[in-house]
């Protein structure tokens, strides 16, 4: 539950926001009626002065220039989403040509990998030396005589 606004805070609000209720916090606007009439009049006069300062709207050509430059920047360097991994992967997939180019390339790489892996496997995994090999070695090399049964 909110505390009621004190008279000193009410005066502060008048000094901060002026006499226009639109600038006051909605829940304090009713207090404007309780403000000192002289203070209120001074603030209203300042609001009136400030209202005479008007700024022109942005010219249409400015909007067009901004959009044109943004489009040119996007063409030069397409925006890279980096907010999360999914977006980044999606962006990478699209940059690689999506399903049209990347999918056949990945499939080709997979097939090549399996084929090469299968072909090299016998060369890479030589069978371990058998008992017969050790015995043959013992018969021809004196250093291994002790192994000879």
């Amino acid at each position: 539950m909110k505390r009621p606004i004190s008279p000193s805070r009410r005066d502060e609000l008048l000094a901060i926001h002026g006499a226009d209720p639109a600038h006051w916090p909605a829940d304090a606007r009713a207090l404007l009626a309780e403000c000192d009439p002289h203070q209120l009049a001074a603030e209203a006069q300042l609001d009136d002065w400030l209202a005479s300062s008007s700024a022109p709207p942005a010219p249409a050509a400015l909007r067009a220039a901004i959009l044109m430059q943004a489009a040119a920047a996007a063409r030069a360097a397409p925006p890279l989403p980096r907010n999360n991994l999914r977006d980044a992967l999606l962006w990478l997939w699209q940059e690689l040509g999506g399903a049209r180019l990347a999918a056949p390339a990945f499939a080709l790489a997979l097939v090549a990998g399996l084929t090469l892996g299968g072909g090299l496997s016998p060369l890479l995994h030589q069978p371990e030396a058998s008992v017969e090999d050790v015995l043959s070695l013992a018969q021809i090399d004196e250093r291994y005589l002790a192994l000879n049964p």
């Binding site: 909110k2 609000l13 920047a73």
Partner: protein, 188 residues
């Protein structure tokens, strides 16, 4: 200075959030919607800060191009996108004001054309010029606080976030700005 204040309550969901995501993925229409939502405000803020049509347009353009470059990195939920835009625009204005002070005498500046609105009377123009002179005479932070809250209708919390100060400090800036303006304009 921390009484209940609906103007400083928790910000609502960012109205730009959906368009930021789309624009970050290259949707130019979404970026155009962001520009449409904020261009007038950013231009007005720069115009009032710099009092130069050409500089205001350049600052607005630079602000949105920076925003466009940052869209993919934008993290929703931290602050409103508009808060970030205002901050970038004010920083760019500060850079220009600093350079002006270093390089060019104020009287040589290409200031906004006071005769831009032909339907104004001479008296109205004089009054406007006095107010704008008084605004220019304010210390920079006070002027920025006033521009954001009084002219742009930002809540105290939003303006405090733009300026990187507490809400109490923002309120103090506003009160001092108004006090100085009252004194300045009453003096004339």
């Amino acid at each position: 200075m921390t009484a209940p204040d609906t103007a400083t309550s928790v910000p609502h969901p960012d109205p730009d959030a959906a368009d930021i995501v789309r624009a970050a993925h290259g949707d130019q229409q979404a970026f155009a919607r962001i520009v449409d939502r904020h261009l007038d405000r950013i231009h007005r803020l720069a115009w009032r800060s710099l009092d130069s049509r050409a500089d205001a347009e350049e600052v607005a353009q630079e602000t949105f191009l920076r925003a466009f470059g940052q869209l993919p990195d934008w993290t929703p939920g931290k602050a409103r996108f508009s808060t970030w835009l205002y901050r970038v625009a004010l920083n760019l204005c500060q850079d220009r004001l600093r350079r002006r002070r270093e390089q060019v005498p104020v009287e040589d500046l290409d200031l906004a054309d006071p005769g831009a609105a032909p339907d104004r009377t001479l008296e109205q123009d004089q009054r406007r010029q006095r107010v704008e002179q008084a605004l220019r005479a304010l210390p920079q932070r006070q002027r920025e606080a006033l521009l954001l809250c009084h002219f742009e209708g930002q809540s105290n919390a939003q303006a405090a976030q733009v300026l990187g100060v507490s809400v109490d400090a923002l309120e103090s800036l506003l009160a001092r700005a108004r006090r100085q303006l009252r004194a300045e304009l009453a003096h004339d």
